[in-house]
Amino acid sequence: MGTTTKTVPPVTLTQRHLLGIEGMPVTEIEALLARSHFFASVIDGSIPDSDIPQSLAGKTVVNLFFENSTRTRVSFEVAAKKLGGSVLNIAVSGSSVKKGETLIDTATTLNAMHPDILVIRHHAAGAPLLLSRHVDAAVINAGDGRHEHPTQALLDALTISRKFGRIAGLKIAICGDIANSRVARSNLYLLGTLGAELRLVSPATLLPADIDQFGVPVFTDLESGIADCDIVMMLRLQTERMQGREIPSQHEYFNMFGLDEAKLMRAAPQALIMHPGPMNRGVEIDSVIADDIDRSLITTQVEMGVAARMACLEALIVGASI
């Protein structure tokens, strides 16, 4: 694998920013995945660290997180540092944003310091797009409200394709709080584009409007939804984005939509479990399954996150120098 992966070139994208998967050409998705595979080989030790191109040397990545996050922020930080970049973390809770500064003012101020890449997470859908219109840096969307989380979808695809060697034709169920999930939207576009047989499973009150127009079968029953699936991707119940009337109780939710061993029996015999984290144990997923090292890809997803983000950071820096 070593010699072939080494030949995978850095990717360049047609867009200057990485704001979402929707509309991204399949060739670019495939190229990013191929490059992610190369970085994953570095992370798992099959390629020496010394072979990592220092494509971010002398470059500054700013993590601008308006929502709390540990895994995504640290993942971007590790990815940037492995590529030789320097990273600034701006914790919004202690910044001028708390004093009422608008996103555009923050953007203008940061822009004056000439960062090369801005990684933004924001509770409002579309905030990364707005930011991208006011800065010279390349912008990466690290999650915007209920809209998109493109690097999560890439790392999920990377995780799947390393495990199964392919994505096309796999039966993948995305289950849980679809309405409030940016991960679901990005994965819908990305895994769908790559030919996976997707299905969505959710209580009817947590399905977004007109989801039937998105060309994917929708189930309101977990057991039939995951029947024969190769992968069961559970989503976090986004209680912080819920308006209080969606489900009767977490007790009932776990009972009907939580993944446990009994329900998992309906999936394909070797079915694997994914979850973007952080998990609500005992709400959408039973700990026994989440911690089953033979079936759970949850830790692998975190590992692959670094590789996928290295590919994305590199692509935007390489693209900017052309």
């Binding site: 996103l103 924001h122 409002a124 859908a125 579309g126 905030a127 209920r146 409007a209 308006q243």
Partner: protein
């Protein structure tokens, strides 16, 4: 002072008039009109003769729903900028909403605003009194005293009355005063937290949608209350095909119901927000293309009576934000006419129908002067050049509110002269 306007195309739906002709203003009144060419004697009798070749001459526009921010937030819109913007939009009378600070929920504020407007030469200013005190939706405001001070009707701005009994009492009381009640229909428990229309587009954008039922549930409830109370009811800014159908049914039944819409709802659909463009974030939200088509059809067939400006003062501080944090609303006074003209140019409606929607019908509903070119009435007139091309540019607006979802659109036709009481209040 006797002024003769000739070689114009005169349009007056009140007289079913659409012909080449002339019109004489004597001081503040329309003195004479006629078709064809004025006689030499008539020409000689005028102090001023104005050649209107290529122009449309019609009754000045009557905007029955615009918001000001004076008093309370004059940085967004003052009475002066509001009236100047209206004049530039061909408007000779406008009725403002009670959403000021303090709210127009008492006779004194109506007196004050009308006095201030009368001190400047501009469009006639009328007020809708608040239906409830401070627009709180529970305690009926002093409707009778406001009516006595000249309130043309009652409205609760964008705060839809949720409590059915309160709505019933207000309708009953307004019927006693013989004043129309203009209501913004929104079930706020359904629209809570929403940013746009609910559907595939809101799902794609990850925004919270408001279903059309948020509008139609309150509208249908109100129509039943109209049957109960006999009040004159005006449904503000219809946006959905279902609402149009409800109003059509009520009208067929003979209920005293009228309705309006505004330019965004017949010129745009929800895709205008598909790149998170906050200029097109409105309340009610832009709907689907099917809804837009239904609104256009209703404008043509008479189900919708009026086009209003729906002018809501907003500034960049309220709009240059992530979509869900941005305020609703857009500047409307200076685009209402041209967006209606687009319907005429596209043969959706006739010129006479355009003036009915923009002038005659609102004047009739509010029971105020204007809306026609009838001899002996006050000379409130607009001259329109239907062929001039321009590009909608918010920063050129007279209004302090310069954000419009039509920014950058090429358009055809605009008001070139606005006359109130025989005097020019605007000349382009």
């Amino acid at each position: 002072m006797r002024r003769l306007f000739h070689k114009a195309r005169l349009i007056c739906p009140a007289q079913a008039l659409d012909s080449k002709g002339w019109l004489v203003i004597d001081d503040d009144l329309i003195a004479e009109t006629g078709s064809g060419t004025p006689t030499d004697a008539l020409l000689a009798s005028a102090d001023e003769v104005i050649d209107c070749t290529g122009l449309i001459l019609g009754p000045g526009l009557v905007d029955m729903r615009a918001e000001t921010r004076d008093p309370g937030a004059e940085h967004l819109e003052t009475l002066d900028t509001l009236l100047a913007a209206a004049a530039a939009g061909g408007i000779t009378s406008l009725a403002i909403q009670p959403q000021t600070d303090p709210v127009i929920d008492n006779a004194a504020l109506i007196d004050s605003l009308q006095l201030r407007a009368s001190r400047r030469q501009g469009p006639h200013l009328y007020c809708h009194g608040a239906m409830s005190r401070n627009l709180d939706g529970t305690q009926m405001a002093e409707l009778g005293m406001m009516a006595a001070s000249g309130a043309v009707g009652f409205s609760n701005g964008h705060s839809s009355i949720q409590d059915t009994q309160t709505m019933r009492r207000i309708l009953t009381y307004a019927a006693m005063l013989d004043k129309p009640v203009m209501h913004h229909c929104e079930d706020i428990s359904l629209s809570d937290g929403s940013d746009m229309n609910e559907g595939a587009t809101s799902t794609r954008l990850g925004l919270i949608g408001s279903p059309i039922e948020a509008e139609t549930i309150i509208l249908e409830r109100d129509l039943q209350l109209v049957r109960l109370t006999g009040a004159r009811y005006h449904a503000a800014h219809l946006t959905t095909a279902t609402s149009v159908e409800a109003v059509r049914r009520a009208k067929n039944e003979g209920l005293p119901v009228t309705a309006d819409t505004s330019a965004p709802y017949f010129q745009l659909n929800e895709l205008a927000v598909s790149t998170y463009s906050s200029a097109a974030k409105l309340n009610p939200p832009l709907r689907t293309e099917d809804d837009r088509q239904a609104i256009m059809a209703a404008l043509a067939d008479g189900t919708i009576d009026v086009i209003a400006s729906d002018h809501v003062p907003v500034n960049p501080d309220m709009k240059h934000l992530p979509f869900s944090l941005a305020s609703c609303g857009a500047s409307g006074l200076e685009v209402m006419l041209v967006m209606t003209l687009r319907l005429v140019l596209n043969d959706v409606i006739s010129w006479q129908r355009a003036f009915e929607l923009l002038s005659l019908a609102p004047a009739t509903i509010l029971d105020i002067p204007g809306g026609s070119l009838v001899v002996g009435t006050e000379a409130d007139i607009v001259l329109i050049d239907p062929r001039t091309s321009w590009i909608v540019t918010g920063r050129d607006f007279n209004s302090l509110s310069r954000i419009t979802p039509f920014e950058g659109q090429p358009v055809e036709g605009r008001a070139v002269r606005t006359i109130v009481g025989g005097a020019d209040i605007f000349i382009r």
